[in-house]
Amino acid sequence: MRSHLGGRLLQVLPTVLLVSLLVFALQQLMPGDPAVVLAGEERGDPAVLAQIRSELWLDRSLPVQYFHWIGNLLRGDLGFSWRIRQPVASLVLTKLPVTLQLAAMAFGVALLIGVPAGILSAVKRNTAWDYAANLIGLAGLSTPNFWLGIMLILLVSVKLGWLPPSGYVPLTEDWRQSLATTVMPAFVLGNAIAAILMRHTRSAMLTALDQDFVRTARAKGLSEWVVVLRHAFRNALVPVVTLGALELGTLLSGAVLTEQVFSIPGFGKLVVDAVFNRDYPVVQGVVLVTACLYILLNLLADVLYVVINPRLRDA
């Protein structure tokens, strides 16, 4: 197991380098000249364009630009935003807690709804419970986030006046306001993931419940819920953890539409604005950090497999 984890850790550096190269190469394919975008209504003045290109190294060759960026990166410098002139590292550090909070809350919502619904649906197979859980799951999967977000804003904020419609307050500043501003977006995001988790939990539980060890556990006279939760569910958890890690990774990369609807200043909003404004250092920085988070989550999932299923320790 230790060597397996060591091997995975060794893969991190080349993966991150590959991601950096891909991000850099792909954004060169984006149409539109960053200098023209940055120049705004001064875009017709060649002197202004030349000045911007020179200042931002856009007049150098692509390899020079790439190695300049990587060189700075190795010194811990992610560059600065071309648009607002703030260091990318500080932007990422400002947005990371927002995204982490939203992702954690959304994931909490997904787990609280998805996993129990999946278990219930499998245990009560072909009953009204099963059909109800499936129906809710299907609705969660097929409801677009931006639509649900706007509907919730109209109902909960505009009609009922219970919660603020958008915006964000950090947990450290005012925890009540912070929860007030994130509870709706977390529900919207969590709702879609809950549906996926429910479907996977149900399917894994159905497989597990058909296994011999479950029959043995029942024959030993264990109560049905002990059989379900301690024996069947534990075995069904591995695919659910894999899926959970992937979904959490997606949440950490920023929920673009949901952040846009609720004006949450997280990674998604940052990267989309940066793409539209051709603010390359921000795009590169955020994508790299997200890739690192993804890799870390996958490592975490590997560790969790072993905790959940001791047989994997020797694998």
């Binding site: 000249d33 023209v36 209504e41 400002t94 904020s157 958008s166």
Partner: protein
């Protein structure tokens, strides 16, 4: 009982109340850097209206009025003497004097990356005459120069703070406006607090101002309806009725300085070789095929004003002789016949990929078809479309201009053969001469005559088919009192207060 209890619990546990005199303003996007020398965005100017006073301002009638300056006088066509207001201090307590004005103007002119340079590059030098008087010496006569000082080029920054911060000045700007900078969380908020040392402190009733970027128009409206903001600087015309019908809200519309038009490629590369680019009669037919009022009715809820010129109807320079062209399909067909154009006349129209301009493009397509045009629409992301227009990779391109106080700002860059934004590559020596001459003349009536001739010629040549002059549509809580709309659309905070 259940719902009220839940509501009360949620409201008590989760939400707090805003400060009594905190004004929360929703912006359509996040401003760029808050340094008046380096800033570019329109929404940034809205935040600057709270932070940084200018030498001069404009009023509702587009007249230039004093702000940090008391008066100005042209001693000759290239010498501008500006008298400064005494007793003005910056947010850091430093005194605003002639040396500070000289520093700021020179910073705008020479700082690396300055976006003010092209606005004031006619300036040769600034001389300190006495602590409250500066003389600005121009290289050549330029009557629009003073109007440049009513915007960011006229904002005066604290020399001490600017020297200390260098290029990072925009992260914590220090000016002499009614509010001082507190904090900025990018894409989330910009917070300002009242500056007690403001020279016109009596006009400031608010304690704090918070600017919140909310790009989605329906979410801005929802925030306004829910009372989470007090003012939205932009309400879509299609949302205007929702604001009007809400007794707790108020809609304020005012004239705007800009326009929406279709730029035609006349000579910018091979894509100019089209019937539309080659013959003014075809362009006239194209304009005559459009019912601008109908487009405004459908897309903009009837709020905007049809125009056939680049000057706003609110401008004292608006050429009354050039009225918006009415739709006349028969005349359009006759013009196409006269031009010998093979029907249908192909037109490749690029529109920025936003809902209203796309919809306007589709209506143009349907209307022009009736006169014999075959309009093909390409919706393009704005940055890509701009770059393509710059390179001449377009035939017709829907463009919006935010507008400037002086008519020079709406015409010279687009219509002069050496104009920086002349994507069409329109070149007419007579128009060039008139535009140059209008820069030299100070007298308003004489300039009006010159711009009148320019506009008349342009309405025949049609390098841009103007569609409409928009309106500033601002939505606000009925509690907001003292708001004064000005055609530049900026939210001036002097006199604004929140009723209890």
């Amino acid at each position: 009982m259940r719902r009220p209890i839940f509501a009360v619990l949620l409201a008590t546990v989760l939400t707090g109340t805003a400060h009594a005199q905190t004004l929360r303003i929703a912006l359509r996007e996040d401003p760029d850097i808050l340094d008046p020398t380096l800033a570019r965005t329109y929404v940034g100017r809205i935040a600057f209206a709270g932070l940084c006073d200018k030498l001069f301002d404009i009023n509702e009638k587009l007249e230039i009025v004093p702000q940090l300056a008391l008066s100005y006088e042209w001693t000759d066509p290239t010498n501008l003497v500006i008298k400064l207001r005494p007793g003005v201090v910056f947010h850091d307590g430093e005194t605003l004097d002639a040396a500070a004005v000289k520093y700021s103007l020179e910073r705008h002119l020479s700082m690396q990356g300055s976006f003010r340079r092209s606005e004031i590059n006619v300036m040769d030098r600034v001389e300190v005459v006495d602590p409250l008087t500066v003389r600005v010496v121009l290289k050549t006569a330029s009557s629009p120069f003073v109007s440049q000082l009513t915007d960011r080029a006229g904002m005066i920054v604290s020399p001490k703070a600017a020297e200390a911060a260098g290029k990072d000045f925009g992260l914590k700007p220090v000016c002499a406006g009614p509010f001082r900078f507190v904090e900025r969380v990018p894409q989330d908020r910009i917070m300002l607090e009242r500056f007690p040392g403001y020279w016109d402190a009596a006009s400031i009733k608010l304690d704090r101002v918070v600017y919140l970027p909310i790009p989605d128009s329906s979410i801005r409206l929802a925030n306004l309806q829910a009372g989470s903001i007090e003012l939205s600087e932009q309400i879509l015309p299609t949302d205007a009725d929702a604001v009007r019908s809400n007794s707790r809200l108020r809609l304020v519309t005012s004239d705007n300085l800009g326009y929406l038009g279709i730029t035609i490629n006349l000579a910018n590369g091979p894509r100019a070789k089209t019937p539309l680019g080659s013959d003014a009669r075809v362009r006239q037919a194209f304009e005559l095929s459009l019912d601008k009022a109908a487009i405004i009715q459908v897309v903009y809820n009837g709020l905007y004003t049809p125009v056939s010129q680049g000057l706003s109807p609110s401008s004292p320079y608006y050429a009354k002789a050039v009225q918006p062209r009415e739709r006349d399909v028969a005349r359009a067909k006759a013009l196409l016949k006269e031009a010998g154009a093979a029907l249908p006349v192909p037109v490749a129209l690029t529109v920025p990929n936003n809902p209203d301009q796309r919809q306007a493009g589709e209506i143009v397509q349907a209307m022009a078809a009736e006169a014999g045009f075959d309009v093909k629409i390409t919706a393009s992301e704005y940055a890509s479309a701009l770059a393509a227009a710059n390179r001449g990779e377009f035939e017709a391109f829907t463009t919006a201009w935010s507008g400037r106080v002086d008519p020079d700002g709406n015409l010279f860059s687009f219509m002069h053969s050496g104009g920086a934004l002349n994507d069409s590559h329109y070149a007419n020596p007579a128009v060039d001469a008139l535009l140059d001459q209008a820069r030299d003349v100070q007298d308003v009536a004489a300039r009006r005559g010159l711009y009148g001739q320019v506009v008349e010629q342009l309405s025949k040549d049609l390098p841009i088919v103007y569609l409409h002059n928009p309106k500033n549509v601002v939505g606000m809580s009925a509690r907001v009192a003292g708001f004064r709309p000005v055609p530049d659309g900026l939210i001036r905070l002097q006199g604004v207060e929140l009723a209890k």
